[in-house]
């Protein structure tokens, strides 16, 4: 349940208990359409199916019916100019099936901000325009003189 080193189990020894698990787990939007009761996760590379099941049941109190995992290969890209190859990290994906009758819909948690960004841009532009107008107003009485000139 964590990346730390634990003592080997010997017959009669205490059961291994993990107090500070350091595995991460993130819920991701499924790339391909999935049935409504399947949730897709990306997780630490060291996690096993049993780890994922225990993690969700013990920490998040989510009932799990079944877990499948696979390791997705990172994409390889060739640099356009120099021609060398770079590769993204591999990532372990987990497909978790919820018990019968439970469904999960991925929420729209990152809504499009283009309208908001546009509003802010317009606001800044208007302020700049206003500032320029006041600058012109200030220098009205001094024709043919550069704006930076002061007596």
């Amino acid at each position: 349940m964590s990346t730390r080193l634990y003592p080997l189990y010997q017959k009669g020894g205490p059961q291994l208990r993990i107090f500070l698990p350091n595995f991460w787990l993130k819920l991701i939007r499924p790339v391909h359409e999935q049935p409504p009761n399947i949730v897709q996760f990306a997780c630490s590379m060291e996690m096993t199916k049993h780890d994922i099941k225990n993690y969700l049941e013990k920490i998040y109190d989510v009932k799990v019916a079944h877990v499948r995992t696979r390791i997705a290969l990172g994409k390889t890209k060739r640099d356009i100019v120099k021609g060398y190859i770079t590769k993204d990290d591999d990532v372990k994906l987990a497909y978790v099936t919820l018990p019968k009758g439970e469904t999960f819909v991925f929420p729209d948690c990152a809504p499009d901000q283009s309208q908001q960004a546009k509003d802010e841009h317009d606001k800044a532009l208007n302020e700049t325009k206003k500032g320029y107008q006041t600058f012109l107003e200030k220098n009205k009485q001094r024709p043919n003189m550069p704006g930076w000139f002061r007596v």
Partner: protein, 237 residues
């Protein structure tokens, strides 16, 4: 008497207020609060310091670890989704803060573990390490681990992978050249630092000498001051 009674009823006694967040135990814990969806900035406090965590009990630290772990998972989920949607993830420093808190918490737990083991067993209870020579005769830190006891001559994997040790004239020649290389590199670095300090003194003669000394502990500042290289292009007064 009655008046006193009324006053007493309306007095608010100083009481430590406890903030309790509503516990949600479902998959929505992987997502941020709905008010923080699509905003430009999320304001947060600082990370937990080691000194603060030292005051907490073991059970409190245990609870805090899971809070931090859930927070980290939530932030990673949100960051992933923002990257997928090509949106700027608001306040990405939150992830660093959580990770720093987790590091500090683990440091405190390790401290307590060490103290306990030293008291009970006389050893610090950390994973044992020893300095050994590797196949090329260079020193490295070997982290020991538990293993089933097999005699070395029967341990085929060890014989195949790790038993080779260079020796004789080849090793002596290699080490001689390797050490020479390291020595020359160090010497060059020392000279380079000295020259750089001289340049700094030339451009900024009134700079903070303490800070300079701290950044370049190997450089003799007095010698650098007297050096020809640190003299500016002006007539000395």
């Amino acid at each position: 008497m009655k008046a006193f009674h009324i006053i007493k009823e309306h007095i608010i006694l100083p009481r430590r207020s406890i903030s309790v967040t509503a516990q949600r135990n479902d998959l929505m814990e992987f997502f941020d609060d709905k008010n923080n969806w699509g905003v430009q900035e999320v304001k947060t406090g600082r990370s937990w310091k080691v000194e603060e965590l030292r005051l907490k009990s073991n059970s409190d630290l245990h609870k805090l670890w899971y809070i931090l772990l859930k927070e980290k998972n939530m932030l990673l989920t949100m960051e992933h989704e923002c990257n997928e949607k090509m949106i700027i993830f608001p306040s990405p420093e939150r992830i660093d803060k959580v990770e720093e808190s987790m590091e500090n918490l683990e440091a405190v737990v390790r401290e307590r573990n060490k103290a306990y083991h030293l008291l009970e067993t006389g050893e610090n209870g950390e994973r044992p390490e020893k300095i050994t020579n590797n196949a090329f005769g260079l020193q490295h830190v070997y982290k020991e681990s538990e293993y089933a006891i097999i005699p070395k001559h029967m341990n085929e994997e060890w014989l195949r992978k790790d038993s080779y040790r260079a020796s004789g004239k080849d090793l002596r020649d290699f080490l001689l050249k390797y050490k020479e290389k390291v020595f020359v590199e160090n010497k060059k670095k020392k000279q380079r630092d000295f020259n750089h300090v001289c340049g700094l003194l030339k451009r900024f003669p009134n700079m903070d000498m303490e800070a300079l000394k701290e950044q370049y502990p190997d450089v003799d500042i007095e010698k650098a001051k007297n050096s020809k290289r640190s003299r500016g292009h002006f007539v000395p007064a």
